[in-house]
Symmetry: C2
Subunit: 359 residues, 2 copies
Amino acid sequence: MKLFTVGPVACYPEVLEAMGQQMVSHRSEEYKKLHVETVEMLQRFLETENEVFLFSSTGSGFMEASVRNCVNKKMLCCICGSFGKRYAEVATANGKQVETLEVPLGEPILPDLLDQKLSETPDVEAVSITHNETSVGLVNPLEDLAEVVKNHGKLLFVDAVSSMGGTEIKADKWGLDVCFSSSQKCFGVPPGLGMGSVSEEALKKSESAENKGWYFDFKVWKKHQQKKGTPMTSVIPQIAGLNTILKVIESKGGKEWFFELYAERNRSIREGVQKLGLTMFSKSGYESPTVNCVNAPAGIDGLKVYESMRGEGFELAEGYGTVKNVTFRIGNMGYIESADIDSMLEALGKVLVKLGWKR
Amino acid sequence: MKLFTVGPVACYPEVLEAMGQQMVSHRSEEYKKLHVETVEMLQRFLETENEVFLFSSTGSGFMEASVRNCVNKKMLCCICGSFGKRYAEVATANGKQVETLEVPLGEPILPDLLDQKLSETPDVEAVSITHNETSVGLVNPLEDLAEVVKNHGKLLFVDAVSSMGGTEIKADKWGLDVCFSSSQKCFGVPPGLGMGSVSEEALKKSESAENKGWYFDFKVWKKHQQKKGTPMTSVIPQIAGLNTILKVIESKGGKEWFFELYAERNRSIREGVQKLGLTMFSKSGYESPTVNCVNAPAGIDGLKVYESMRGEGFELAEGYGTVKNVTFRIGNMGYIESADIDSMLEALGKVLVKLGWKR
């Protein structure tokens, strides 16, 4: 099965080899070297001097951590799809009051709108932004939004789950307080590892947080980071996988090379899909660089497209949430060869015809 | 390096091969099959009809989950070493009141003592017991302790991190409400997966729990279990690894075969160490079946023994907590061949002499 998923995505052979390596103790010198090296490569990638933690959880664990460590009472969640909603759900489940800024599906969060909302809700302590909303294949203008949040003096949490590694993020320059991702997205490593940067200000806020638990306590993480490790056992295989792909990226010319590779694939897929006569779900100019969310043709169920493509040997991604049946998604992360893009597009054309599509 | 660690432990080649497999989507039919099969094998292994969840975290995540889902105000933590202390620390960090029953290091928690303590603290809602205390190599008499807890009508949380898979646990017969472990211990799978059983009563308690968060919410987990998956992305490689070792165990004659294999290794190591003239830290009759905690000879630092053994190509485990310098530990979990036990013991004898030991 060829994967054009949105995570877990197909992994490079080098990464899979790292995943299958024999274990070492997570308190050994061998692990400490791996840990420090991986953290430092990720800091360079995100252009940050903030702490970078390697969580023994998925990115959603980091989401929970941001809320527990850095919000006493109230936060603002920007919602342009299912994962923005997830943030609000997580905050509520953790006993926080939540203000929301929600836009129609397919539309981005724009700076003016956020500025206005923050003027109306001066009592929120933090703002969450989904950088790339995987559910609808839309990227928000993070740099500009961050500027607004910082002008209002709020902490900024960035769900970069499907953007980190696939498009530029400058954590320090843009003022991101918590910025996290998952291993199984742009870096093309199997799932199980959440990684993210945490600013000094976020760490300071964590000091006075009550009832924040142990597993995701930033202060406990910082203490163990100083000992070159993690509070609980480290997810060694996935960390070795991340280490491997970061080295591959550095050896090929750095992150710009990787971004361009993804952009090229993304373009090929989008243009191919449009050539078939299909349209994108998200507003033009805000299409995600890592996943194309495609409108299913009128009268054809998006889920049927997904299922039929499996029959052709291609695993795309189903539509998500309320647009489950009217869209399907095509990811461009991980290990994808350009010949596979051509054959996937060819199969898609055939499948649509079989499903009764008449252009 | 030959591993006689206490986790991560060395993995069987079959498990490492499963770890290196190409990814599938965690919502695909392929994953659902793997998920259900693994859950069912683990249910059979634990002799339980309770839900068995496959957490995208280590066992410590399950520890946090038990506290957040099933304790409103107060619990009792039984402490006979560092991981019993960890339970109390986690409960406190989650805003719960904690009663403790603590015994001197090297001593087990005994049923009469627990019975007395529970008579004195009738207001606790739950009791935590560390089945096998990894830090001092001691196993508590879980079946008898469980009977006491059930007689008092309390919920029972069992930290079975270094016992599940290595010695018998009958979750339903013994009345265990939450019983969890980590992939990197007895089952010899790399770290990153926490797995455990959750009783109906524990799930019921979770319904009314406040501020329990999202990541570890048992009710959210149950909802996704019914859809043959997990709330966040599943730790697919480790689940595939666990699936593989459980099948190996079933094919070799079931869990009794695996327990006997571990018991045999454990005995060989203990007898070999005693033959060298060393003694065990834990009280006779309560030595752990998965890790031997050895007293360092007078005047020799346990850490030095650990370091010198690394020089000989053997990774043991350092002493832990307050006995860090006066003990060292030898695990017998995971992929260990019997010839390696002989050469490890031989190296240990040499190392002790080099460190100046005179019997």
